[in-house]
């Protein structure tokens, strides 16, 4: 069985290796691949084909999920250029950024305990705006190899805002309960 796992996710979908992504083209390519490989197309096939279909469909899902969301895509783009984002190991972040994040997280905790949905909405809006700026920055940094190294910090920052987003969602859930 020879699925070529050396191909990167961009190549798999016949898309250019770039952080800029034509999402419509990605969606279409993903669907085209799944139409060919999804296990539903192989329910009456041999065991060999069934296994292969499961592997291929799994691979296509993984590639699609990675390329679809900008943070995952950015991280993956760096990885295939040999740059690790060190999100677990590198904790050196600008103090100002950390203070801001802490402030927002405390605000989420407060809004959660006060069941203040309006405040949560405001925090979500703020977070989204912050995230948008960071993605703009990431996009610029990933546009030229000279700034790839700097993009690592931006990815790590985005990991913080992603976490913040999860906490806001959890808080919404808790408030609605």
């Amino acid at each position: 069985m020879t699925i070529d796992f050396t191909k990167n996710h961009f190549d798999l979908f016949h898309l250019p290796i770039s952080f800029q992504m034509d999402l419509a083209a990605l969606d279409a390519a993903y669907r085209d691949v799944q139409r060919e490989v999804h296990p539903d197309k192989f329910t009456t096939a041999s065991d060999a084909e069934k296994r292969l279909a499961a592997q291929w469909a799994t691979r296509a899902n993984e590639a699609y999920q990675t390329l679809k969301t900008p943070l995952n895509r950015g991280r993956y783009f760096l990885k295939i250029h040999g740059i690790e984002t060190e999100e677990e190991s590198n904790t050196a972040m600008p103090l100002e950024f950390l203070m801001q994040q802490m402030e927002w997280r405390e605000a989420v905790v407060d809004a959660r305990s006060n069941k203040d949905e309006a405040k949560l909405d405001a925090l979500a809006t703020q977070k989204n705006a912050d995230e948008k700026l960071l993605f703009g920055q990431l996009s610029a940094e990933l546009n030229q190899p000279s700034t790839f190294a700097e993009a690592r910090l931006t990815v790590r920052k985005l990991r913080f805002t992603e976490k913040l987003g999860e906490e806001i969602d959890d808080a919404f859930e808790a408030v609605e309960r």
Binding site: M1, T2, I3, D4, F13, H14, A25, D27, A28, A29, R31, D32, V33, Q34, R35, E36, V37, H38, P39, D40, T43, T44, A45, S46, D47, A48, E49, L52, A53, A54, W56, A57, T58, N61, E62, Y64, Q65, D169, F172, E173, E176, R177
Partner: protein, 623 residues
Amino acid sequence: MALMQIAEPGESTAPHQHRLAVGIDLGTTNSLVATVKSGAAEVLLDHDSQPLLPSVVRYLADGSAVVGYEAKAQQALDPQNTIVSVKRFMGRGIADVAKYGALPYKFIDAPGMVKIETIAGVKSPVDVSADILRALRIQAEAALAGELVGAVITVPAYFDDAQRQATKDAANIAGINVLRLLNEPTAAAIAYGLDNESKGTFAVFDLGGGTFDISILKLTKGVFEVLSTNGDSSLGGDDFDQAIGAHWRKLLGLASADHGDTRRLLMKAREVKEMLTAQASAESTLKLSYGQEFKLRLSQDEFWAMTAALVQRSLQPVKKALRDAKLSVADIDGIVMVGGATRMPHVQRAVIDFFGKSTLNNLDPDKVVALGAAIQANALAGNRTGEDLLLLDVIPLSLGLETMGGLAEKVIPRNSTIPIARAQEFTTYKDGQTAMAIHVVQGERELVKDCRSLARFELRGIPPMVAGAARIQVTFQVDADGLLSVAARETVSGVSTQIEVKPSYGLSDNEIADMLKASFNYAKDDADARVLSEERVDAVRLIDAVEAALKKDGDALLDPAERDEIFAAIATLRPMIESADARAIKAQAAELSRTTENFAARRMDRSVADALKGRKLEDMKAL
């Protein structure tokens, strides 16, 4: 039918023979079976021309089971041995079942899933469900005059791994080849999507007898992509009956009603609930076992007030699903209403108010799931349908592992598109540690104790190393049925220890085979004949498939030696089909399958490349 497909030795089966496949909606209250006949999906009727089979099983002293209307009619007479709403017990422990309120059954605590003591012996919810599924299979085979190739069985989207596994086990015990487990809202979307040729983003609101699901789907050119799903696997129409029942019990001072009378009361509650769909007030008469009669009355306003909290409860998962899909109500193009309980006007009203637009109700909410399942079954069985249908579904709940301090570490997040595989690395924390306990859990909470425990196993034989040196890779794999398997491997030493696990109540293949034999009351010969027949059918199908592939791509993708190897394997297998040696047929079919592995891989690579090439050309033309 299966045996008839094998004509004379050496002669292959008719190439475009219609394969009998059905969709089964195994519901809490009612179950249905549907199929595609001359291009259209329709519900199969029983011998009394009824489309619905009540999901009720009564066990008798002689060990037999009565299923459907007859059992339903007897439930108040024999409540202990007449199991209703068994779906609510699937994959559930005794603590879960206690939440459903007073039930007449003698529950037995068993690892993973409760069992019920009946006059016909101890029955697990899997056994009871298998009895319902068997009745449906027999009904379908009678209606279609042939043996089924397989069935698509629907499950609530919010069913966890244990509930899914239990459902698949039940189908296997009932002698049904499961083509796929399909999420109920997705099935409903198929029925609607193909009928209306819809395009856009849809919410499927599915309030059944005992379960509630919400799925958000994107429809594009025959592709049904589930963006998110949520639900409450213990919220359904039954709870509305219980609310009415509780109200009357209090009103009439029936606190100490026996099980039979409790059933009578709930049946009346259900009757009145259904009447209140179309009228402002309803009444009925309750006759208790000792002859006492009560006039029961309820107005729509009273009913809606006493169940407002239940309706509100259904909206919470809707909000969560939208949030997970990163959408707001304004992004939803249509709302599909599924399940008998969505007939209640105040449920409709709440959904319309929430989304700010009217709902789609043009298909019968009781039948739409079975119809969608039939369409999918027809496609999966290999019958050419014309429509190119593709379902991309998700897992409803995150899957993870227990880590230090009783915390759950997510490995696969909820709403991941299936099939999916994810690996996570762990290490040893003691010098010389040779084993590691692995605890697989499902759920969204941080603490393991708040999640559902799916399986525990130990990885043994890790070579002794200093703490932190070993690399234990745990791989989670979720297949297209939404079922999980877990493997663990130590990667540093090169020693690979691998274990496949099933959830605690997943039955082993041997157990299923035993239950299958027992449940059919088959003499061993009959069971063997069934196995032989299945191996023969599979072997013929395999040869047909390989020959078709050879004819199409054999010259282009294989060198002569490879082609000869496959031809030789076919030549060995073909005469064996007529033999009575099921094992030998199976072994040689596996051998043929093995010889085609590289061929299959090349064909798939090429079909993917072709598909993408075609797309690029189209793009060029568009420019």
